[in-house]
Every structure is written in structure tokens, then in C-alpha cells.
Symmetry: C2
Subunit: 149 residues, 2 copies
DNA sequence: ACAAAAAGCATGCACGTACAACTAAAGTGG
DNA sequence: CCACTTTAGTTGTACGTGCATGCTTTTTGT
């Protein structure tokens, strides 16, 4: 008789999602801390540089960045503002679309990114290892995430 | 010859982690939107109510909440402040430890939580279904997350 | 028993993000 | 062509969170 007792438990999905949230918070926290401390980069800044590095001609439009980062457009305006101030990127106007603005990676930006990437990758896999070892519940998710390459 | 070409790709872990970030952002975004719109609850507030509902005597200490929510302790002070103002919880002092403070769920809080939970659970599984259907890469993670119950 | 260290919580402050409103430049239909 | 709608991006504002700090109470070590 699976009915409602005094304190109903959350659905199974919800319960597992909570686990993923903990995992997410833990890993992102470590990544953010180490990137900030060792390279002076925020998480979104690091990732923005990464997307720019991958992109053709090392440039992307605001909307592109917003989509890939999963951020609001206005957030990206300010994010790119910070990157420009740090001279990791510069702003380039679109010739064919006068509304548009490209954000272009500078050499300094690329260099900083590649320095940081080693740290990032190492920290990430270490954090995943650690979580997988600490809790079999996490291990399942971690394993799946890793095999989803 | 797998050496470094002009634009090196991020590690496999990093690449897959990006996927999980997209998944996370997407799901959390939907949950946050629907909870705010239909129940006037933020995501952390909802989850705090949930943990309180599960807890013995429907009360938890600040640190407990912080741990379970994956939030900073000072964030929880303010979070609980909001809950108290809304009268979903009230503050109760610890008899045996004069430093401690319990946050106790009120009937109104429990009611609001249980109303919201239906919405939350439905939205969550819908969002997971949608993502799994849209992209097999996500599907792998979603399936694992779900089986990790 | 007492000084020193640690734990629990609150407060000041700064930062990153979201939302809404706005400007400007394209696209679209009559 | 000209109004209308849509798209790209920026700015004002508010909110939630983290970090550093401070205060009180408990624990620890000698």
C-alpha cells in the first residue's frame, strides 16, 4: 500500500536530482576557487575564453557566447566587458550587420586560457574521482557523465 | 600522432562536464521559473522547506541546512530570514547550546511546500524527459542519474 | 580551572547574474 | 517605400550568494 504517510518522501527523480546538485555544487566550487586563486579567472570567464579559443577566427558574437555559456545576454555584455578590460579580448564591429559585435580573443587571452586549462582539467578529474570514491551514489553519475563523451 | 595542433581541444572530462552544465542550467532554470511563478518560491527556499519537512520534528540547525543545500552558512542565515518573514518557518533557540538556532517549519510552510512539490516533481521529470529525447549525449547522463536512486 | 582554540551564527560588503526597459539596426508585408 | 515587427546589444536595478569579519558560546589542552 504505497500511500501518503505523515511525511511523504520526494519523488525518486527529485531525490536523485538533489544528489546531482550536491555533486555540481561541489565540483564547481572547487573549480571556481582554484581558477580564481591561481589564474585570476572566474568560471564563466574561463569558459568564455575556451569557447572563443575553439571558435573560428577566435571570435564570437554576444548571442553565440550567451547560448554556449547558458547565460543571459546582459550577463554576457558585462562578462565580455571584464574580459575586454583585462585585454583578454577586444571588441570588433560587424561589417555586414551594424548591430552586431564580435568579441575576439587576443594572444594574451589565449595564453591565459591555456595556462588555466591544465589546472582546470586536473582539478575537474580530481574532484570527480574524489566524489566517486566517497559515495557510490555519486559514482554512478560520475561514471555515466564520463562515458557520455 | 595526437599532438598539439593549432587549437587544442579540452579534455574529455571537461567536454562532458560542459554537457552536464548545460543540462543543469536548463533544468534548474525551468524549475526556478515555474516555482517562482506558480508558488512564489525560490529554488533554495523550496529545497530548504523540503529538508525541513523531512527532518525530525521538522527542524534543522543552520549548519545542517547549509550542508544539505550546498550553500554558504551566511547565505542560509538570509535564506532562513526570508522564510521566517514569510512565516513558513520560525526561529527556535537551542536549549542545550546557546549558540545554536533551530529553524522550525510552520503549518503554512509545510502546506506551501507540499503544494509546490507536485509542480516541482512534474517539471523535473518533464525537463529530464525532454533533454533525454533531444540529445543522446544528455540521455546517457539522465539515465544514469535516474538509476542512481 | 583557565587560557586558547574551535564552533555556530550574524553582518558588511562585493560580485555575478537575471529581468525589464531601451536604442538601434535589420527584416517583412502591404 | 513606409510602417511594423524582430533581432542584437546595452543599461538600470534588484536579488541571491560568497568571503571576510566579529561576537558569543562551547570544547580542548595543560
Amino acid at each position: 500500500m504505497p500511500s501518503q504517510v505523515k511525511t511523504a518522501k520526494p519523488s525518486s527523480d527529485a531525490h536523485t536530482w538533489n544528489r546531482l546538485l550536491i555533486l555540481h555544487a561541489h565540483v564547481e566550487g572547487k573549480l571556481a576557487a582554484v581558477l580564481q586563486r591561481r589564474h585570476g579567472l572566474g568560471l564563466s570567464e574561463y569558459r568564455a575564453l575556451g569557447f572563443l579559443d575553439e571558435a573560428e577566427r577566435s571570435e564570437l558574437r554576444m548571442t553565440e557566447l550567451a547560448d554556449r555559456l547558458g547565460l543571459n545576454q546582459s550577463s554576457v555584455t558585462r562578462l565580455v566587458g571584464r574580459l575586454n578590460t583585462a585585454e583578454f579580448t577586444y571588441r570588433d564591429l560587424c561589417p555586414d550587420d551594424k548591430r552586431g559585435a564580435y568579441t575576439v580573443l587576443t594572444d594574451a587571452g589565449r595564453t591565459r586560457y591555456r595556462e588555466a586549462r591544465a589546472t582546470y582539467d586536473a582539478t575537474l578529474s580530481a574532484a570527480l574521482d574524489e566524489l566517486a570514491a566517497a559515495d557510490p551514489g555519486h559514482a554512478t553519475i560520475v561514471a555515466a557523465a564520463r562515458s557520455a563523451a
